[in-house]
């Protein structure tokens, strides 16, 4: 993941993740979810693989890989990132790379009309790899003890639900609304509700956490990230699409799901960015700092 320098802290120039990381996480997670939603009808319901979705997944995962590779500024060193599997970042590099290969393989099998066993095998492998690609950023963030707002399994659940919603949106936009063997509009609406609840629980838990976590929540709901989070991520990405999908379910109309999907994708990027940018490190010192003269007054 790449970073941008945002602040000077005394002597140190510490780094924080920014927009490139948000786009990378968004594209990687969305690619994984799109792949899953494109091949699951074939794997589970004896339907067919949604080829446009696999193409979309390939494009998105390539964007994610390029973002990941580009930010390290060291392409020839990158293969090293495949060898320490214990690290979520290494798992991410592996899963994204494998997703590129498996997406191409899926497309190749569909064009070559090879046996269905090969397609099933590649499909299930792709689903497993996609899940890894969706979950790894949350797992990495969960390891960041320095940032209490991210610690734990919260980011993993949040990013998983967000990725599935974005995946539904991509499948819809790439023409898969009538392709899926299930009601994609209802599924998207259900996932939007799950994402909204996950986000709400995450925010509530953060507001009851440590001081740094509370500061993070403050950044989101009343700080400098207010517009990006409350209007961009929540309004554009959650509330408005939910209303559009509800309208579509009550009285089906052609443009509603497409407009809703577009808004979901825009809001999805904002959501990832606000989650990343809200991370506040534990302060090294509070106001009552310590030192040689402390004991003169205490």
């Amino acid at each position: 993941m790449g970073m941008r320098e945002t602040r000077k802290l005394g002597y140190t120039s510490q780094k924080e993740w920014g927009w490139p990381s948000a786009i990378e996480i968004f594209c990687g997670g969305t690619a994984g979810a799109t792949y899953i939603l494109s091949v699951l009808p074939y794997l589970l319901f004896s339907g067919s693989v949604f080829l446009n979705g696999v193409y979309a997944s390939l494009v998105l995962v390539l964007i994610s890989v390029f973002m990941l590779a580009g930010e390290s500024n060291s392409l020839w060193r990158l293969p090293r990132a495949f060898f320490k599997i214990k690290s979520p970042l290494a798992l991410g590099a592996i899963s994204l790379s494998l997703l590129v290969i498996l997406s191409i393989a899926t497309i190749g099998i569909l064009y070559a009309d090879v046996t269905s066993k090969a397609l099933s095998l590649v499909g299930w492998l792709g689903v497993a790899v996609s899940l890894l690609a969706i979950i790894y950023p949350g797992a990495l963030m969960g390891l960041m003890k320095a940032i209490p707002f991210w610690s734990g399994s919260g980011p993993s659940f949040l990013l998983l639900s967000a990725a599935l919603v974005s995946g539904c949106a991509v499948v819809t936009l790439s023409g898969g609304l009538g392709h899926a063997n299930f009601d994609l509009s209802r599924l998207t609406l259900g996932l939007l509700v799950v994402q909204g609840l996950s986000l709400l629980i995450y925010i509530i838990m953060g507001s009851q956490g440590s001081k740094a976590a509370q500061t993070s929540v403050g950044r989101l709901i009343k700080g400098h990230l207010f517009f990006i989070f409350m209007i961009g991520a929540t309004g554009i990405g959650l509330v408005v699409p939910s209303m559009l999908y509800i309208i579509d379910i009550i009285s089906p109309s052609a443009p509603m799901p497409y407009v809703g999907s577009g808004l979901i994708l825009i809001g999805g990027v904002f959501m990832r960015y606000s989650l990343i940018a809200s991370g506040v490190k534990i302060p090294m010192l509070s106001e009552d700092s310590i030192g040689a003269t402390y004991w003169l007054y205490h």
Binding site: E16, S87, E287
Partner: protein, 222 residues
């Protein structure tokens, strides 16, 4: 079992920054890179103003968050507990910088410049590369050199970390934390040494004491 550690006496520290300069001189780090530094704060209002100091360096944690997130294994823990960075393996992803709760990891500045890694007769030129992450290594080369020449790190000048030698008030004590007879172990147990951000469970090897006086309540910062 060997585990190098350091005790810093906050009551003695006068905020002179000698440790910072000694470290820079020893490792010849780049512009804006400080493997060892001292946070210096003023608080209160005139005329009741006071200054406080907190020397900071890599804590060489037992369960180091930086090591967990490193995707290449560039950050690793040696048998003696020192957390080291292999510049040849670092892919500059900087995840470790974000993971470190103590904010003591630094990115090499943009310009490439030569430096000397090692100590005394072991000097070998190394070309530093921009973007590589660096941090305190407890002057491992001095430790190795000292051990090779029969010296005990923590006891002998030439085997001590540079910051320990430079401190004019002997605020820093270095040694093997797992040796109950070492000075550092005695200081930690007798003066109830505490660590920064102990609530995170990272198991730092840098302890803070206060010359027998109770530690300030806010040592464990939020």
């Amino acid at each position: 079992m060997l585990r190098w550690g350091m005790v810093i006496d906050l009551f003695r520290c006068i905020g002179c920054h000698a440790c910072t300069y000694a470290c820079k001189a020893e490792h010849r780090t780049g512009k804006g890179v400080f493997w060892s530094l001292v946070y210096d704060y003023e608080r209160g209002k005139y005329p009741n103003v006071m200054r406080s100091f907190l020397p900071i360096l890599c804590m060489h944690c037992e369960d180091a968050p930086c090591k967990q997130v490193c995707p290449t294994g560039a950050t690793s823990k040696r048998h003696d507990g020192i957390i080291v960075v292999d510049p040849k393996k670092c892919i500059r992803c900087k995840a470790c910088m974000i993971a470190c709760p103590y904010q003591v990891r630094f990115e090499n500045p943009e310009d490439t410049y030569p430096t000397i890694e090692g100590h005394l007769k072991q000097e070998r030129p190394v070309l530093r590369q921009p973007g590589i992450i660096e941090k305190c290594n407890f002057c491992k080369d001095r430790i190795e050199w000292g051990k090779k020449h029969g010296l005990t790190p923590g006891m002998a000048w030439d085997a001590n970390p540079a910051c320990v030698n430079a401190c004019p008030v002997n605020a820093r004590t270095f040694g093997n934390m797992n040796d109950p007879t070492s000075e550092i172990s005695k200081l930690i147990s007798s003066q109830k040494g505490d660590v920064l951000h102990g609530e995170l469970g990272t198991g730092p090897a840098v302890f803070y004491i206060s010359a027998g006086k109770p530690l300030p309540p806010r040592l464990r910062m939020e």
